[in-house]
Symmetry: C2
């Protein structure tokens, strides 16, 4: 359905509305914000307040064709999404290497392991071997709870899932027993470093 | 031009062809290999031999339009290259966070500072403040010499370049005086960790 302004002009989404929605979403406890958006805001806050230097890596893209028009920027006209061989987030905090993957689940009591890839599990095993801190951050959207769970548990669940009849998901109970609930605040939104402080230092 | 397999599926670069190209390049003493290619091979070697976990980050791309054709992969049809706000390489080595940028210069005695961006210099300043190891790797292609230089010197040159009449490049002499020549070998090609061992541990 096309909507029209009183002046007869068709309504078009300019993105401005979206930002004001985000703003109002914040006021109402940021309903509708994705975990990724919340973590990006959180990481920016950590950088601005000089607490840590942690970034989300760019989305890996296989570039097939690029146009180089005269007098304007190179334009990628054919590209495909690639599967990440590492995790999405990494950086440095209090001299330590930090590495994590973040996922949401709509399931009430578990997150399917298909949210992660073998390469990512292997990557996090390596990180631990080399003295880095590796974990996953999982948001259970139904209850609006966000947990931090050390990568060793992901690795264990992954190994068990490969056995015949092995469970193909991580139960919420494991997050409650071995993980840590991350406080959600106005700023920083998902204060995972406060958990990292308690768990790893 | 899109190529098709006999089954009608479009051909996509899987990287296999590229690797075999790299392989043959190796056989000829890696003539024409860029610093980036050499570092990718080096980092793969470090991972395979379980010495370090260091990756090049994906190229940052601003995705504008994606097609979702039925029964095949999502295709990005409009995207643009973005300027990186961080450095290209990071990871963990012997429990330490490692972060660096790599550049080539065809100039015999200097590398212009315009090869780096303000955001990158600020990023490396932050890395040092938080206890990470930050440096640049620069290849002087004329002499085929590759140097490692701590990020503090990049930062100093950058600050001086902003003064009126300040030099807009880093002289090779600074690499020779304060930096470290990286041994080039068959494998690993650019053995920068052997320098990191000496300088930072």
């Amino acid at each position: 359905m096309t909507l029209f302004y009183p002046n007869g002009q068709p309504y078009r989404d300019t993105g401005i509305r979206k930002e004001s929605m985000l703003q109002s979403a914040v006021d109402y406890g940021h309903r509708g914000m994705t975990l990724e958006e919340d973590l990006n805001v959180t990481n920016s806050y950590y950088i601005q307040t000089d607490q840590a230097v942690i970034y989300k890596k760019p989305t890996p893209v296989q570039i097939v064709h690029v146009d180089y028009p005269k007098r304007s920027a190179a334009k990628i006209t054919e590209a495909y999404f690639r599967k990440a061989s590492t995790t999405d987030y990494n950086g440095v905090y209090r001299g330590k290497y930090i590495d994590f993957e973040a996922k949401e689940t709509t399931h009430e009591n578990y997150i399917p392991l298909k949210n992660f890839h073998r390469h990512q599990v292997e990557h996090m095993d390596r990180i631990r071997r080399h003295g880095g801190i590796g974990f996953i951050i999982v948001k259970f959207t139904k209850s609006d709870e966000v947990f931090l769970l050390d990568a060793v548990y992901l690795s264990e669940c992954w190994s068990r899932s490969l056995e015949s009849g092995g469970r193909k998901s991580i139960p919420k109970q494991l997050f409650q027993d071995k993980g840590h609930l991350i406080p959600q605040k106005y700023l920083p939104r998902i204060d995972y470093l406060c958990v990292v402080n308690d768990v790893y230092f």
